[in-house]
Point group: C2
Chain length 362, copies 2
């Protein structure tokens, strides 16, 4: 763009009205970014959040700032995304912070902690509870800047080949579950397994594993796990309101014109509400379909929930003792959660309770 500005200024004696032109041109440079998504295109609700951001940024900048989403593996795989963005190999990504707990367990809090905030509370903490600022101070150590990009809402607890009623039933159970959730389950006797989504069906069919968690009805339906592991447990207590994030290379973010930063921020906010809305709109029909195809809904027993809650708190105490970043952010998150449920148990919960009962009565 600089060349154009030079030519314009050079062509003739500048009319007063033309003085503004170079400023416009400079503030709207042509920029192309690549965005590595951690979500395969088959998970259209998640992948679509990145496409939505790209579309609105392109439109709002009159096609000057183009962000192109790439499926996992086209540039780097999901596990490598944080490093690739931090190092500047790719300018930005669309991913879940908790995929990077191997680098530092503090990454988990950005998405959600087991028995943590629900979806709305997560947004409240991020945008207006100091969460975004606390997280970005941590992410900056990894050369990342993050913006909330969506939420799935409370997830399901996954698919089990047999009913489980007690903690005893979990002993030796091979379950596909990762991260802090895997550590909690491990304390309860489960043997956590790391298996890619595409391998879950044959693994459950063959009995290589006994259970697998994925997301919620709309995404789960695509894997067809109900045919090989019919018991569909809830709630996924390890994912009560997991946030999706856009991760951006910190220098690249700081170098963006302010107008482009504003376009990304607004589009990320829109992607946030839109992604949750899409999940909420699509999960009911998928649940209905799964139930029609033989899925057996089962709540986790109070015994299992209580044991998992205790195990989670032990893990948080351990991590807080060892990791100052984790402690600092967890302390904020935990205190916020306590306040949130003081309020959510009143109008919101009473309203939903009545509506659920009214629906059941027809």
């Amino acid at each position: 763009m600089k060349r154009r500005v030079f030519l314009t200024a050079a062509t003739a004696g500048m009319a007063a009205g033309a003085v503004a032109k170079p400023a416009i041109a400079q503030s709207a440079p042509e920029i192309r970014w690549r965005m590595t998504s951690a979500f395969p295109k088959s998970l259209d609700t998640l992948f679509g959040g990145g496409e939505l951001l790209a579309k609105h940024v392109a439109e709002a900048t009159d096609g000057k700032f183009i962000i192109q989403p790439f499926a996992p593996g086209e540039i780097v795989g999901a596990p490598q995304a944080a490093d690739a963005i931090g190092s500047g190999t790719v300018e930005m990504g669309h991913t879940c912070s908790y995929y990077y707990v191997g680098k530092d367990p503090t990454f988990a809090i950005g998405t959600n902690l087991p028995f943590g905030l629900n979806s709305r509370q997560t947004n409240a903490w991020l945008y207006h509870g100091n969460g975004n600022d606390l997280l970005n101070a941590f992410y900056a150590k990894h050369n990342l800047f993050a913006l909330p990009a969506g939420n799935t809402g409370a997830q399901m607890g996954g698919w089990f080949r047999k009913e489980i009623k007690t903690v005893q039933d979990l002993q030796g159970l091979k379950m596909r579950i990762a991260g802090l959730a895997g550590q909690i389950m491990s304390k309860l006797g489960v043997v956590p397994q790391q298996i890619a989504g595409g391998d879950l069906y044959p693994s459950l069919e063959r009995g290589t594993i006994d259970a697998a968690e994925w997301v919620a009805p709309y995404d789960d339906q695509k894997l067809g796990l109900n045919k090989v592991a019919p018991y569909y447990y809830y709630p996924g207590f390890w994912e009560g309101g997991p946030a999706i994030h856009f991760f951006i290379n910190l220098q690249k973010w700081n170098e963006l014109p302010k107008a482009y930063q504003a376009a990304i921020q607004a589009a990320a906010g829109y992607a946030n509400v839109d992604t949750q809305a899409k999940y909420d709109a699509r999960n009911p029909a998928a649940l209905r379909s799964l139930l029609g195809a033989g899925a057996q809904l089962r709540p986790f027993s109070p015994e299992i929930m209580d044991a998992a809650y205790k195990a989670a708190n032990e893990i948080y105490d351990d991590l807080s003792a060892k990791n100052p970043d984790f402690k600092k952010i967890y302390d904020s998150y935990k205190a916020f959660r306590n306040e949130e449920y003081l309020w959510f148990q009143v109008a919101e919960y009473a309203y939903d309770s009545f509506m659920i009962r009214a629906r059941a009565r027809g």
Copy 2:
């Protein structure tokens, strides 16, 4: 801007690189809009949603598209906003659709119906359940284009001078409550009153009225009603998830450059998630403070909830029989609600239930 373009082209033989300039200039015209807010600045959470939109649109357009928010009465009052926007007196507004039920009861559905969708479900219906399209087809008859702009979440049922336990206790009770909620309460024996927010305190203190509904703890706290009507009922079954809207004059919207439309759409989405997040972040401390100052929390009794639910459905049946626009949109909304609670009663509700119990146990 046209004058500038002409001057530039006229100054000298145009260099190839300069050809793009007029296009940039034309696609980024300087536009100033006024936005009439229906919310006083004292309701900073609501008024702030309009400011957030204005800020992001201004930044994303490099200061070319300026939207200036005005408090109610500075241009027109909240009740006149829809007409003023439709007629083009003012380009846009930040308001609640249900303030205009006097024009047509169909306006109510845009915000929320009593016993309707909760906040997340409202977004799901609007963005991905055909709600926005159905509503905009209706709003077009009033020369309006609407974008969701926020939500308060489930509201409280208001402040009562005396405890009410039965429908009998509601007979002759003078309550500040408007719109369809007022019609429902009227069927239950209440005498609905129309009183401005600022007059609620003296009216309750003097006993001119017996009860008043407002919003939820953060906004309610500002009015101090706990001192004159200590019984604080929940849930506000008439506002389980009320949406805020940006209303835009339809021609003005259609005439906007596509880039400016994209900037508004993204910023409106961001304002939507941000407004809900702000309420969710601020309500807990306000509730705690109100309880500390003597507010007495009371749930509406099942008898009152059931009677109100029945009354609401009768009103919807009546309106559907008389008003094809209402019927068309209500049918979509009602069917969507039935599907939503099929799903929300599973993972989401079970998760919140556990977290509320876990908090109560410490």
